[in-house]
Amino acid sequence: MRPDGTPPILELKGFDYTYLEGTPRASEAVRDISFRIDSGERVGIVGATQSGKSTVVDSFAHLLRLTPGQVFYKGEDVAATGYDKGRLRREIGIVFQQPDSQIIEDVVGADVAFGPTAAGLSAGETRGRVEESLNTLGLPYADFRLRYIHALSGGQRRRVAIAGVLAMHTPVLVLDEPMAGLDPRGRKELLELLIKLQKDRELTLIVCSASLNDASLLCDRFIVLDRGTVVMDGPVREILRQADRLAELDITLPEPVVGAREMQRLFPDFPTDLLTEDELESELLTRLGTA
């Protein structure tokens, strides 16, 4: 609960989940996960593969067989009987790891229009949303509107998938491994775009990743998962200070932090909570100046 009394936008309370529960192929994905995310926060959910990130993401939009009393959106139990799941899914936009899985139509324009149309927007409004979303993602509307999605490159398909979610104007945007499969330029562009979008639309932004590389520039807070439980939760710099522990958990560290850990061989107390190369450089220069 925030000081002003509004409930957190998303909250997990002792969230447990086992896939195919009650069958011989049951596998426990997450155990007793609790955290709250406030409106407008920029949170990274990080962890190695099999840490339970995707299960957590799927729970936000009620895409699993949830037990009541574990997942809350704006203070309401999403698994309660009679809860409007359709509305929940119109407010939580998820971009999945494989963009192909969430593409519904064959043609770019039609696919981006799918969400707004399903939400009951007029044709004119829908067209506006499609144009705006495609342009925002660097896929000019006039040029891409009628292209076949399956003929696009991987990076372009991902952008179409993101556009489809953006067109919904959801207050919460969740991205699962958004940078996977993108080249450095694509990553940089997407990073800048997400930072701008989050600021302009006051989005609650949630990014899942096994790498802190881009997430550390995009998020203010990290929730670190390991084998289905939360092992760390706090501001980005505070988490980065425990770089050794993160490395043990098989999480890819940001490049400046990798540099800082190398520097610890020379300066054992060299800090690891560095976000940019500039910070690393200035820290190094100070050290060298005093040495």
Binding site: T23, R25, L64, K85, Q98, S101, A118, V165
Partner: protein, 270 residues
């Protein structure tokens, strides 16, 4: 939420370490074949009744929970029920006027129709049960090796046994992969506002249609990747391959085979 994997167990392998799991795959395939033959030979309820205890024993010994098998057969059972309804309603072979229970134009319900549908149902269920049990208790590797060894002699007749077995096994093992893929797609599309977890049976079935194109695309991509992977590892038919693990049937395996054949013979003869 759509959890297809619960409702379709075809092609899955569940390790429980039971006697049946440890049996020689060739013996298991032989037993399954005997059952398949039996399903065509037996043509009265008594015969199937005699077989029932044997099937129960197999189920219990395999230690695979019956609830899991039943749940996993829901779609199959629904499909079977549909077929049987047609079988009953359109049955018209030598039905004496006295045995009609209900009639309306071409459609009718007669005792003969019900009897033939009943036998047909038992045949199909038997076929389904034994092949499902074979797959639930036999790993992919054992199944491939077993089939290759059984049909190996046909290679002298220039029949590409290894290739055929490989195609067969890949086809079966792609089923669970496709199901997982469908589940993933359904989840992603639900997130975008196609509610796969709501609506009646027909609406749901129609929505599943939407998944066909992406499923085909990913299927071709997977097949392509598999081909490349096999080529890069210089795969060529198993004739040139040697096996790390040699299969050997133990006396208890043979005993099980003899027992099953004897039991089935009884069921056929009664």
């Amino acid at each position: 939420m759509l959890e297809l994997q619960r409702n379709v167990i075809f092609g899955q392998f569940v390790e429980t370490g039971s006697f049946i799991h440890r049996m020689d795959a060739r013996v298991k395939i032989a037993v399954t074949s005997v059952f398949i033959v039996a399903s065509f030979l037996i043509d009265d309820f008594l015969g199937f009744a005699v077989l029932l205890p044997l099937l129960v024993v197999i189920g219990v010994v395999s230690r695979i929970p019956i609830g899991y098998v039943l749940r996993g057969s829901r779609i199959f059972i629904a499909f079977l029920a549909l077929i049987l309804a047609f079988q009953v309603l359109f049955y018209s072979r030598d039905v004496p006027e006295s045995s009609y229970l209900w009639r309306w134009g071409l459609l009718s319900v007669s005792t003969e129709g019900l009897y033939s549908a009943g036998i047909l149902a038992l045949r199909v269920i038997l076929l389904y049960y034994v092949t499902t049990m074979l797959m639930l208790t036999t790993s992919l590797v054992d199944l491939t090796n077993g089939l290759e060894l059984i049909f190996g002699p046909l290679q002298r007749l220039r029949i590409p046994v290894n290739e055929l077995v490989l195609v067969f096994v890949i086809a079966i093992k792609f089923v669970p992969i496709f199901i997982e893929e469908m589940e993933r797609l359904a989840r992603a599309q639900t997130a975008r506002g196609v509610p796969f977890d709501e609506g009646g049976a027909i609406t749901r079935a129609r929505r599943l249609g939407r998944l066909l194109i992406p499923i085909f695309i990913s299927g071709f991509a997977r097949a392509d990747t598999l081909t490349i992977a096999m080529n890069t590892r210089s795969y060529r038919g198993g004739r040139y391959r040697t096996k790390l693990r040699q299969m050997s049937a133990s006396p208890s395996d043979w005993l099980a085979l003899i027992l099953v054949i004897a039991w089935i013979s009884v069921a056929w003869l009664v």
